[in-house]
């Protein structure tokens, strides 16, 4: 017990004295996950919107596929990205394995289905509601997409935050493709896993606290946004 108290004290010290190693790890985590969510949004949002308003063969199958991809086990994604990027893999020449870029790629694969599926849901619901009104105003199916994305912005923000939450808390995939190399690819989750197993609880605890704080803020932001969204939706539909 005595030990833990001491580790706690050190952990607090690490956080509040601005320990450079700790904050370098936090910063890299944020950098990787923000990039991953940004790229996933660039792919997932148009994809989701296209699935919501588009009418083409195979659309239903694609929707089912993306919903299924939401539940991909991160370790398997890590393995697949590893195979792609490894020296003998198809993208081996790029020498991306064990770089932050590899971790971004893995997180993009994990987060894109989430953003695409949520975007589809949001846009499709709005599209049904807006259908006749937009057609009355002469808005074509294609040009309705930006309108629907903009009017669904609250719910879409929630989708992005959900994606970010998944990315930042993920450990299985990034540890495989990132390798957890000190000062290069060490992010919060992988460091916690490593330091805990080494018995260096102070750093693990400090990172754990930062991670929890981040997770709580994201969840908080999501619920505030959905509350606001609901309030906006109240009244005369």
């Amino acid at each position: 017990m005595q030990d833990f108290t001491q580790e706690f004290t050190i952990a607090l010290g690490l956080i509040f004295t601005g320990d450079p190693e700790l904050w370098a790890i936090v910063l890299l985590s944020l950098k990787v996950s923000v990039w991953a969510v940004f790229i996933a949004a660039l792919i997932g949002m148009p994809l989701g919107a296209g699935l919501a308003v588009g009418r083409f063969p195979g659309r239903r199958a694609l929707i089912v596929l993306i919903n299924a991809l939401m539940g991909l086990p991160p370790v398997v994604v890590g393995l697949l990205v590893y195979l792609m990027l490894s020296r003998s893999g198809p993208f081996g020449v790029l020498q991306l394995l064990y770089t932050p870029t590899a971790m971004i790629i893995a997180q993009v694969v994990l987060v894109t289905p989430i953003i695409a599926a949520l975007t589809r849901q949001v846009v499709e619901t709005l599209a049904v509601e807006y259908d006749e009104q937009l057609r009355s105003l002469g808005v074509s199916r294609l040009s309705s997409v930006p309108v629907l994305l903009w009017d669904g912005r609250m719910a879409l923000m929630t989708a992005l935050l959900a994606g970010f939450g998944r990315a930042i808390a993920e450990v299985g995939a990034v540890i495989i493709v990132g390798g957890n190399i000190n000062h290069v690819t060490r992010v919060m989750t992988t460091t916690i896993a490593l330091e805990t197993s080494k018995g260096n609880l102070a750093l693990a605890l400090a990172l754990g606290a930062v991670l929890i704080a981040l997770a709580v803020s994201v969840t908080g932001a999501v619920s505030v946004l959905s509350l606001r969204g609901e309030r906006q939706g109240l009244g005369h539909a």
Partner: protein
């Protein structure tokens, strides 16, 4: 632009051989209907009479199984439809501010920023919503929301305006405000076609009336004559406040 006298050989709106059926049940069957003159035209009828369906056909939102709708002799191309606007029975306001809802339409007309601002302010004043410009459209009261829906339709600068029971859920005060807006627009030359099942409202607004029942037009004529001497027994019952079943 809104001078219909140049098109005297074609009625403003014309329906021929129109029919819609679903699951073997005829929902709408309008063989011959011409809407002409300055309006407002009021389409009257009980629930399920097919009023909303007819309005949707006139606005080109649904393609009938058979039959044609023409405006001024032209079929409802996108260009013709751009001259129409509609206020729905349940208006859908965009999740934006009150001004944002108007600006959406003004933008589509390709107006400059300055022109949009001027026109937006004019419209808001017309609907008594000046002090609500920044408010979220979704937080408006029922009457305000309906006024905004009408203003947004007017912002399209249409020559024909369809309204589907715009006051069915409003109190007398809000109803009166809407009726005044509609009359003002009609006086300024806008061709109004409005659905209601409120007989008093029909008497206050209508120049001519189309009576519907069971998906068919059962009577059509000038309001003054129709309300004075209805030909049809069913209509007489409806007009005298009886239930039409």
């Amino acid at each position: 632009m809104r001078d219909f006298s140049v098109m005297t050989d074609h009625p403003i709106l014309s329906v021929r051989g129109l029919s819609i059926a679903r699951d073997g049940k005829a929902l709408l069957g309008v063989d011959h209907l011409d809407l002409d003159g300055p309006g407002p035209t009021i389409i009257l009828g009980p629930n399920g009479a097919g009023k909303s369906l007819l309005l949707r056909c006139l606005h080109g939102l649904i393609t009938p199984d058979r039959g044609t709708v023409t405006q001024g002799g032209q079929t409802l191309t996108d260009q013709v439809r751009a001259g129409q606007a509609m206020v729905f029975q349940r208006p859908v306001l965009l999740r934006r501010s009150v001004a944002g809802n108007l600006d959406f339409v003004l933008r589509r007309r390709g107006l400059s920023r300055a022109a949009r601002k001027t026109e937006c302010e004019g419209l808001l004043a017309q609907g008594g919503l000046e002090d609500k410009a920044r408010q979220s459209a979704r937080s408006l009261s029922g009457g305000e929301a309906q006024r905004l829906a009408i203003l947004r339709a007017l912002a399209c600068k249409p020559s024909v305006l369809f309204l589907d029971e715009p006051t069915s859920a409003l109190d007398p005060q809000a109803t009166q405000e809407i009726e005044q807006m509609v009359l003002r627009a009609s006086d300024q030359g806008l061709r109004v076609v409005m659905v209601t099942h409120d007989i008093g409202q029909a008497r206050r607004l209508a120049r001519d009336v189309v009576m519907m029942h069971g998906g068919r037009v059962v009577e059509q004529g000038l309001a003054a004559q129709m309300f004075a001497a209805p030909e049809n027994g069913m209509i007489r019952r409806f007009l005298s406040g009886g239930l039409m079943v």
